[in-house]
């Protein structure tokens, strides 16, 4: 089976994720979309790994999953902290770091 289809799916998922990050304003959804992008990359890695017959890509995919888990932990922690302090759960309102 040609690798093309896998890559097409991967690209689609990545594009959906990226669009979500840019368009949506809720931090929770942005985190979800980030996960989509990471998993799209994982799909591509595994597909390439199958194609070459090696294990490197799969190892990379595992590492990406670990990173993703860490990132979700931190991100969700931030969201909980924001909620507890009564801050708006909206990334457009959180712009204190403007120049």
């Amino acid at each position: 089976m040609a690798i093309g289809w896998y890559l097409v799916v991967s690209a689609l998922i990545f594009a959906i994720g990226a669009a979500g990050v840019i368009v949506r304003r809720s931090p929770l959804v942005i985190l979800l979309c980030l996960e989509l992008m990471l998993n799209a990359a994982n799909l591509a890695l595994v597909a390439f790994s199958r194609m070459w017959g090696g294990e490197d890509g799969q190892v990379f995919a595992l590492i990406v999953m670990v990173v993703a888990a860490c990132e979700v932990t931190v991100g969700l922690g931030l969201i909980v902290a924001m909620y507890r302090r009564g801050l708006p759960i909206d990334v457009d309102d959180l712009r204190e770091l403007q120049g």
């Binding site: 990226a18 990050v21 840019i22 990334v91 959180l94 712009r95 770091l97 120049g99």
Partner: protein, 669 residues
């Protein structure tokens, strides 16, 4: 153990002494810092003797040893090592420095007792001895420069020791500034030589020099002249001499140790150490000889006129070092080093005697106030006369043999050096006159009130301590000589130190008698092997003719002094009135301070004024500082608009950017 091991131990003792006294000052009771310091230097002296014995075990051709503990950098053409050179010259210097230092430390134990900075004093003094030993043991230019700068710093610390005295701090700064000029000269001179020889080690430099330099080549002459700047600044030779008389603001033992016996002879050592270079660059050597000759005459005339007893001895030191510089520059190496040793003995002795006198005078240093101390202080009187006779060059004292060794060599070498030799004899008569002027005025005549009081057993005390230079009342809290005075008559450590030096000043000359023994020349010979100038010694007969002339001149000088100051006491006033312009010139020290003030200090100060009023607000503030600030502000204002704070906007930009980069590489590959 090898001689070099002892060399390292010689250096270690004073360092340990400094550290123990410096860190433990609050826990050391009473006089113990003084004893620790003296023991450290005494141990150093013992190791120096061991080093001498170990060196003498070797055959004369193998008496130049180097030892290196550590490589700072040893690549790309630089060989910077922590390296010492043990050869007869350095061993000779180490023996003189550590030996005289031990005695002066011993003297200080009593002399400084009443001072509140007792521990600080001994920590500084040990640090000075370490620096000086490092200077003379250094095996390469790098360590020489380190030692050179260290002794300058130690000298500054000790001159300004009584830091509540304005005059003392000013004198310290003056000495430091002039010494730094010398340091710069030494560093630049080293650079000139290093660029050609490519090595910092002394022995390698001397081996390479004849191959890379032509005879009298410009670069070598410039390098040697710069080394001479260093030597002249450290040895207080004209025109870099004005700091030495002011350095007498320090405690008297400091004047004895640093500004008479050891540090100021570093210039002589430098020229002797660099003799292969100076012999390749005779122009520079001639400049050195002329400078020394001028100094010995000018300092001698000033010594006739000043009345501060310590300053008289200071000018005498300058004059004697003038002899040494003239000698080493002309090639009379063993003679100059012999005088260096003899001078260390008798000049330290004279300073100690002066310290005792100043103690008896309750801090007053003026010869105008002193008189008739002969009966009140017989021991000091005896030592002072011995020191004075050695300084004046009376037979058979050490000064007679050593000074005339140099002068006989100069007359033997001929040419312009004969003139210098005759100038040296003129200087000798001046030396005899000012030395005995000092002795006659301080010890003979009717006793002054302080001397009378001392004869009855009381030491004079002043109600309010005053600065001997300015007369203003002193801060008695800290940093002043202390209320109690100590004189050699009553303190055995001072007595032992002075007695030992008096014996050495008497018999030191016997180390080298023409035709009888040549101990010093033979010992130093391996260091000056291969030097044609060192080999060209005058015959024993002409040596003795020189000695007889020298003795006659010394006796004449003493007779003149006796006639002027003892037989007919009014004569000096009459001479002063008749030759008023000359007296004014001498008493104002040939106006060197004023000349330097006018030619260097004023122009630099006015340039500083201009820089402060015109350049700084006009150029630096408007263009450099304000311009930079404006540039950064405008630049950041332009970039600031991109930082909106919208997270999604950043994410979109990042996506576009990374996509752009990826596409670029995809297309370009």
């Amino acid at each position: 153990m090898a001689a070099t091991t002892f060399g390292w131990l010689v250096l270690l003792c004073p360092v340990v002494g400094t550290a123990v006294i410096g860190f433990g000052y609050s826990r050391l009771p009473g006089r113990s810092p003084g004893w620790i310091a003296t023991a450290a230097i005494g141990l150093s002296f013992a190791f120096a003797i061991a080093m001498l014995v170990a060196l003498l075990d070797r055959s004369p051709a193998h008496r130049q040893l180097t030892s290196s503990l550590w490589d700072y950098a040893n690549s790309v053409g630089v060989d910077a090592r922590l390296q010492i050179l043990v050869d007869p010259l350095s061993v000779f210097m180490v023996l003189v420095v550590s030996g005289v230092s031990t005695l002066i430390h011993l003297y200080s134990i009593s002399y400084m007792t009443a001072d509140r900075g007792y521990s600080r004093y001994f920590a500084y003094l040990n640090y000075f001895v370490f620096s000086m030993l490092l200077l003379v043991l250094a095996g390469n230019f790098l360590l020489l420069i380190v030692g050179w700068a260290f002794v300058g710093a130690a000298s500054y610390l000790l001159i300004s020791f009584w830091y509540r005295r304005n005059t003392a701090t000013k004198a310290g700064i003056k000495a430091f500034v002039i010494n730094v000029i010398g340091d710069v000269g030494l560093v630049l001179g080293t650079f000139f030589i290093f660029t050609h020889t490519g090595t910092l080690g002394f022995l390698q430099t001397f081996a390479a020099a004849p191959h890379v330099f032509h005879h009298d080549s410009t670069d070598l002459v410039v390098g040697c002249l710069l080394l001479l700047v260093g030597a002249f600044a450290k040895s207080a030779q004209i025109p870099l001499h004005t700091w030495l008389p002011d350095a007498m603001e320090g405690p008297t033992p400091v004047s004895a140790l640093i500004h008479a016996a050891t540090m100021v002879t570093a210039g002589v050592y430098l020229i002797a150490r660099m003799h292969p270079l100076f012999e390749l660059a005779p122009t520079a050597a001639d400049v050195g000889a002329v400078g020394g000759c001028l100094t010995l005459l000018i300092a001698g005339t000033i010594g006739l006129a000043v009345t501060d007893i310590k300053r008289v001895i200071a000018y005498s030191t300058m004059s004697q070092i003038g002899y040494m510089i003239m000698g080493v520059s002309a090639g009379a190496y063993s003679g100059a080093l012999f005088l260096l040793m003899a001078h260390a003995f008798f000049k330290a002795l004279l300073f100690m005697g002066a310290g005792s006198l100043i103690g008896a005078m309750a801090g007053n240093q003026s010869l105008d106030r002193m008189s008739g101390f002969r009966r009140a202080m017989p021991f000091t009187f005896g030592c002072f006369v011995i020191g004075g006779m050695a300084l004046a060059g009376l037979p058979p004292f050490s000064g007679w043999f050593s000074k005339d060794d140099i002068l006989a060599y100069l007359l033997h070498r001929g040419g312009g050096f004969e003139v210098m030799g005759i100038a040296g004899y003129v200087g000798a008569i001046l030396t005899a006159i000012y030395t005995f002027r000092m002795i006659f005025r301080a010890f003979l005549g009717d006793p002054c009130p302080e001397a009378k009081e001392l004869e009855e057993g009381h030491i004079a005390h002043v109600e309010v301590p005053t600065n001997p230079q300015t007369g203003e009342a002193e801060d008695t809290d800290v940093g002043f000589p202390g209320p109690e005075h100590h004189i050699a008559e009553r303190e055995w450590p001072m007595k032992i130190a002075m007695g030992t030096l008096a014996v050495l000043a008497m018999v030191g000359g016997l180390a080298q008698i023409p035709g009888v023994d040549d101990t010093i020349r033979n010992f130093l010979a391996p260091s000056f092997a291969g030097s044609p100038l060192a080999a060209a010694q005058p015959s024993t007969g002409s040596d003795w003719i020189g000695l007889v002339i020298g003795a006659a001149i010394a006796i004449t000088g003493i007779a003149v002094a006796y006639r002027v100051w003892v037989l007919m006491p009014g004569t000096s006033t009459r001479i002063r009135e008749r030759m008023s312009p000359l007296y004014q010139l001498f008493v104002n020290k040939w106006y060197f301070d004023e000349l330097i003030e006018f030619a260097i200090v004023r122009p630099v100060a006015s340039f500083g004024q201009i820089a402060n009023t015109v350049l700084d607000p006009g150029l630096v503030t408007t263009i450099v500082t304000d311009g930079t600030v404006g540039l950064v502000r405008a630049g950041s204002a332009a970039v600031r608009r991109a930082q909106t704070g919208f997270l999604r906007y950043y994410a979109a930009l990042m996506l576009v950017g990374i996509t752009g980069v990826v596409i670029y590489f995809l297309i370009s590959s």
